[in-house]
Subunit: 253 residues, 2 copies
DNA sequence: CGTCCTATTGAAATTCTTCAACACTCGTGG
DNA sequence: CCACGAGTGTTGAAGAATTTCAATAGGACG
């Protein structure tokens, strides 16, 4: 449990150098922590707080100043925007071990909420800024996440602008599959998925209404592309077939 | 000396220090060049080539490796994605002095084309990479542009997913207005705009068909929100009114 | 057992698209 | 100078996809 024989990023580092708080963190070798030295990890950990959020719990309101940033340890976070008359659009989903926050802009332009139960490891703004000054690598890592987010946003723009309801829902399920279980999702084998979003949220993500989302679910079910185990869990008998069905280009990084 | 924020960062620099190629460049103090020292500007300029592209001329194909990056000196560039069966969605527009390219990913996920006549100042990949190694400021600047692009993409996701055709077209015109003439676009005064896109492209940007775009133009015209001077130029009598409009849909015929 | 929340289903209404026709502009060449 | 054609934009009417409205079903929990 304490030794990691698998391709560690810093094989010269003893576990004793790593802060206690971080030792049990599954995300430690990924996300932004993956590139920090033990000292940096220590410096960071002195200011971190771990939270657990319930589904639908708000993290940051739109326009609010973010005084703390976080790493997602587990769970799924949704970023959404609202029109003045209350129409909602989810503009991004973030999974562990994503970094949460916009370090160099002073106010959030999205509402940030937990979609599922979420565990966060959060720290104050100034701590991150100091770390960034000390190591350019960190900013590079932030850049890469941002770049992936933009790529995903562009994929969803294509879906929102040009794809049918059925393609969008199929694409969404495939997207979730590859995010929840990246390895498994390659193979043409059945896969059980816990959906991080309820129907309303899926609708808000795909620019549809709950009713149409529901209808597409039953279409996919009748076509044998998915099996509805219960509201929140589905089985995908053949992931590739589902992907082919709704070809979203998901570029990995 | 390393303030990353604002305005003529180096007003103490004599013109004689600045490479000849750069002296006449309107974008020199903005974009990524704005944060480079004269030496760096010189190093960069040794490898730059200025191009002029005609409208619809391709810069990078989707999936192609980008071996050169560019700064946009003038004109508008469109980034688009295609589905396998040929449906097109424009996922971003870039204006001078934007930086063009994805420095840390090896293949473009978008097709990049000139929308208008475009003047570029381009340089090989490795030159940029060396510059980035030398100055973290540069990566910070790239980060900021990326962050802005993501913010815009999210705004358009809201439009594509949740706004009516009329709101989208109105919003697009307002967007172009603020991009073409940032200062003027604040005031409630008439503004003449040269549209960088033809109707087909506007449709591909807004997830609509040419016909619906056209219909929304005439609605806006009949409502007195715009005046059609010719196909490519419109007058906006009151920019604020148009902005207010693109958030709230008023429908009459 | 009733209530709340979530999801599904059906029928009517609406928005946008599709298809088809026409108008305008701008070169080129007769 | 006019005719011609290509490219681009507009308009109308029919059709399709999605939304809206309304009703029903199921599960979790006190």
């Amino acid at each position: 449990m304490t030794t990691i024989t698998e391709t560690p990023i810093r094989q010269d580092v003893h576990n004793s150098d790593v802060p206690v708080l971080c030792r049990s963190c599954e995300a430690r070798h990924r996300g932004i922590c993956g590139i920090l030295s033990p000292d940096q990890l220590l410096a960071l950990s002195r200011h971190t707080i771990k939270h657990t959020l319930n589904p639908e719990q708000s993290i940051v309101a739109e326009g609010e100043a973010e005084q703390r940033f976080s790493n997602i340890m587990s769970g799924v976070v949704k970023l959404s925007k609202l029109t003045s008359d209350g129409r909602r659009q989810i503009v991004g989903l973030q999974f562990a071990p994503d970094f949460l926050g916009r370090p160099f802009s002073d106010h959030s332009n999205c509402e940030v909420e937990a979609a599922t139960e979420v565990r966060l490891c959060s720290f104050p703004r100034h701590v991150l800024q100091n770390l960034v000054k000390a190591s350019p690598n960190l900013e590079h890592r932030l850049y890469q996440q941002l770049s992936r987010e933009l790529g995903e946003a562009q994929d969803w723009m294509l879906a929102l602008g040009r794809k049918s309801a059925l393609e969008r829902v199929g694409g969404f399920l495939h997207f979730v599959a590859t995010r929840i279980d990246p390895e498994h999702a390659q193979a043409s084998a059945p896969l059980l998925i816990d959906l991080p979003l309820r129907r309303t949220d899926i609708a808000d993500f795909l620019g549809l209404t709950v009713e149409t989302v529901s209808r597409q679910f039953t279409k996919l079910r009748k076509a044998g592309l998915i099996v509805l185990v219960n509201n929140r869990t589905i089985e995908i008998p053949d992931v590739d077939r589902l992907e082919h069905f709704s070809n979203l280009s998901l570029d990995e990084d």
